[in-house]
């Protein structure tokens, strides 16, 4: 397929393809970080993760409408406000859900699966009733659209750069929070030994609530960012959920580093294969490879050694 192209053209195509892979990597990390925190630190499989993302997307939509109506002059920066709003809304709903539902189910992991799946259905129908069954169009400030021409043939998508920057920031923030803050210390203590953590005076219920809220809040930010590249509709969350679980399970459920490594592996594999074959075939092959590796290593790429 490379016949008849000059070396320069091929070079720029490969450069753009590498960039496409990096964008996909950022997208995967962003969408799976929230799930990985909840799944890894609390053992709860949050089937409503996609819906928390879409809540963030709808918050972005509402914020953009509000800026349109009340502060059109500041429209260029509305997206940053929208992400904060999305984080707060999804995080607050997450904490509410944890308080009203999840905390009664910690000893029954399969029931959390069912309960959060039910929650996802409720949220979908709520979106449909509130915002309508049709997708809403989230308008972006002009500076976020289009691409930067690096050379004549290489162009870099601005929204891709934005997602990459955002992902890096959030990953660093999560790292600092988990491994460099007192609160992170408490979370890790609870994960390692809940009764002991409680015995030394850590309020484990509060830690659980904030962890769940943090995971959902990051999902909200992800949803907000994805209004740049995807659709915002009641069931759009379902589009991301499979890839999200794939990344988290493949990476080893309890490890954040594993999630990032797995996102990198899957995104590069998928993006490269998509270039050489049809999108459907690339997906099939990616899934096949992941299944094979999981057969050999059921725990995923990275394993956190925990004495239970």
């Amino acid at each position: 397929m490379f016949m008849g192209y000059s070396l320069g053209e091929l070079g720029s195509i490969f450069a753009m393809q590498a960039f496409a892979g990096l964008i996909l990597f950022s997208v995967f990390v962003l969408m799976s970080l929230g799930l990985a925190i909840i799944f890894g630190q609390m053992g709860v499989i949050n089937m409503a993760h996609g819906e928390f993302m879409i809540l963030g997307a709808y918050m972005t939509y509402l914020t953009s409408q509000a800026f349109h109506a009340f502060a059109p002059g500041l429209y260029g920066i509305y997206f940053f406000v929208a992400m904060a709003v999305a984080f707060c809304a999804s995080g607050a709903l997450g904490m509410l859900v944890e308080w009203s539902m999840i905390r009664f189910l910690y000893k029954r992991p399969l029931d959390t699966l069912l309960a959060t799946w039910g929650l996802s259905l409720i949220m979908q129908q709520a979106f449909r009733s509130i915002f309508g069954a049709r997708e809403v169009g989230v308008e972006l400030p002009d500076w976020m659209m289009g691409s930067l021409p690096i050379t004549d043939t290489i162009e870099v998508q601005i929204n891709g750069l934005f997602v990459m920057g955002l992902t890096t920031l959030i990953a660093i923030a999560v790292y600092l929070l988990m491994f460099r803050s007192r609160w992170g210390l408490q979370v890790r203590a609870v994960v390692l030994n809940r009764p002991m953590a409680g015995a030394v005076g850590i309020d484990t219920e509060r830690v659980d609530r904030f962890t769940f809220g943090l995971g959902c809040g990051i999902a909200g930010i992800a949803g907000s960012a994805f209004t740049m590249i995807g659709s915002t509709g009641p069931t759009a969350g379902q589009l991301y959920i499979v890839d999200t679980f794939l990344v988290v399970v493949f990476g080893g459920a309890a490890s954040l580093a594993g999630t990032i490594a797995s996102a990198f592996t899957i995104s590069q594999a998928q993006s490269t294969m998509e270039f050489f074959m049809s999108g459907s075939m690339a997906k099939v092959l990616t899934l096949l490879v992941v299944v094979c590796i999981l057969m050999v290593r059921p725990e995923g790429l990275f394993v956190l050694k925990v004495r239970r």
Partner: protein, 430 residues
């Protein structure tokens, strides 16, 4: 074209009167318009109605004053986004028919069932509408999968289905009237147009991975390679719900096709056009032809992301004819000023009207007589212009090419001079 225009012109004066009355009626009773107008019209209008025993010999739900029909669409689940418009259009048509005196002196009463975006549910509900409610006809289904699921039910219990969506063809049934276009009607005119007007030489075919895009692209490829003698430089499919198109877009940049031919559906559509724009592909310079984006889809995609793309279908909301103006106005009066009307919504609107005209031509509600009377039934008040039912139960209709505007509407660039013949089993395209 001219003969059609004349026919339109003749129908026009009577029609305007009728529409104005309907509008007044709708404005006066918003509740009735939402729940199906009934009981608001003096019974004298139904005075000359023929006896029920004469026009209903097979036990359908027809009384001296009422006839029951079914509406079967998804109003919950994934497909609700698409099917909502169809439901609204069908109800609007039923209300207008009732306001104009009903069918054979009977007011139409409808029973609505929810297919819930689940194909077995569609089959179950279809059976309920035919067996329990004894509907004289059913307006419904959207996806090909749901139609395939209900088809055996309609054939077994001898019902009548009016199906609104443009689809892949390769089907024909005594029990179905296809009010949308089949694939060759929609595809060939558009391809010919871009070749003649944009000098297109090479095509890149894209699609979501299921029966409609694959069959349509097969027809497109055959037409491009065998009839136009031009080149297809790539053909590619993505799983439903795919959201990452950067690799595909890089491939397109490498191949530099004259035309991107895209049949991507659902949420993927939004991702595809947003990423295309972000990647710096300017649709005012790069020709992109789609058959899967109507005004409905643009709501989600955002007009600014798809402006300049060409769509090929039979109806656009911006069509400039008196039928369509009245239709758009009635639709907005009934459902709100921000509503948009896509190709399928208009095709759904045709269903109840075609059924009414067919019943009146047959002089009976009996399914067999309606099916037999269908070929040749013409509807000259259709918003898309003039349509006629073909012997194969599809519609003769014009095909149009529209160019997307940033406000989410289309500028119509071209329409076929004549009605295009439906050909669900095209020779040379299999």
């Amino acid at each position: 074209m001219s003969s059609d225009d004349k026919r339109l012109g003749q129908g026009l004066s009577q029609m305007n009167l009728g529409r104005r009355q309907i509008l007044k009626g709708l404005a006066a009773m918003p509740v009735a318009s939402a729940f199906g107008a009934s009981a608001f019209f003096p019974s004298s209008a139904f005075a000359q109605a023929p006896a029920t025993s004469a026009i209903n010999t097979t036990g359908l739900s027809v009384t001296d004053t009422e006839v029951t029909v079914g509406i079967l669409h998804s109003v919950t689940g994934t497909m609700a986004i698409s099917e909502t418009g169809s439901v609204q259009a069908e109800k609007l048509a039923i209300d207008q028919i009732n306001a104009a005196g009903g069918v054979l002196g009977r007011k139409i009463k409808y029973v609505q069932e929810d297919g819930a975006s689940d194909w077995p549910t569609f089959a179950e509900k279809a059976k309920k509408l035919l067996v329990q409610d004894k509907c004289a006809s059913v307006f419904g289904c959207w996806t090909s999968a749901s139609r395939k699921a209900v088809l055996p039910v309609f054939e077994q219990y001898n019902g009548m289905l009016y199906y609104p969506t443009f689809y892949e063809g390769l089907e024909q049934s005594k029990n179905v009237i296809y009010t949308g276009q089949e694939a060759t009607q929609q595809i060939i005119a558009g391809l010919n147009w871009v070749v003649q007007n944009r000098g297109a030489q090479s095509f890149y075919l894209l699609g979501s991975d299921y029966i409609w895009p694959r069959t349509s692209n097969k027809i497109a490829r055959k037409h491009i390679e065998n009839f136009l003698k031009l080149q297809v430089v790539g053909e590619e499919y993505f799983p439903l719900g795919h959201t990452q198109f950067n690799s595909a877009i890089n491939k397109i940049k490498l191949k530099k096709p004259d035309v991107i031919y895209a049949i991507i559906v659902g949420g993927s559509n939004v991702a595809f056009y947003k990423q295309l724009k972000a990647a710096g592909i300017d649709l005012s310079k790069q020709t992109l032809l789609t058959i899967s984006v109507t005004e409905d889809e643009i709501l989600g995609i955002g007009g600014e992301n798809i402006a300049g793309a060409l769509a090929c279908m039979k109806y656009f909301q911006s069509l400039d004819n008196p039928n369509n103006k009245a239709f758009v106005e009635a639709f907005k009066t009934a459902y709100g000023p921000n509503m948009v009307i896509g190709d399928v919504t208009q095709a759904a609107y045709l269903g109840p009207w075609l059924w009414k005209l067919t019943v009146e031509k047959a002089g009976s509600f009996d399914i067999d007589k309606v099916a037999a009377a269908s070929p040749g039934v013409a509807f000259d008040k259709a918003p898309e212009g003039y349509v006629r039912i073909h012997e194969n139960h599809h519609l003769w209709s014009k095909t149009r090419v529209g160019k997307a505007r940033p406000d989410g509407q289309f500028d119509v660039l071209y329409e076929t001079a004549e009605l295009v013949e439906p050909d669900p089993f095209p020779k040379g395209y299999q």
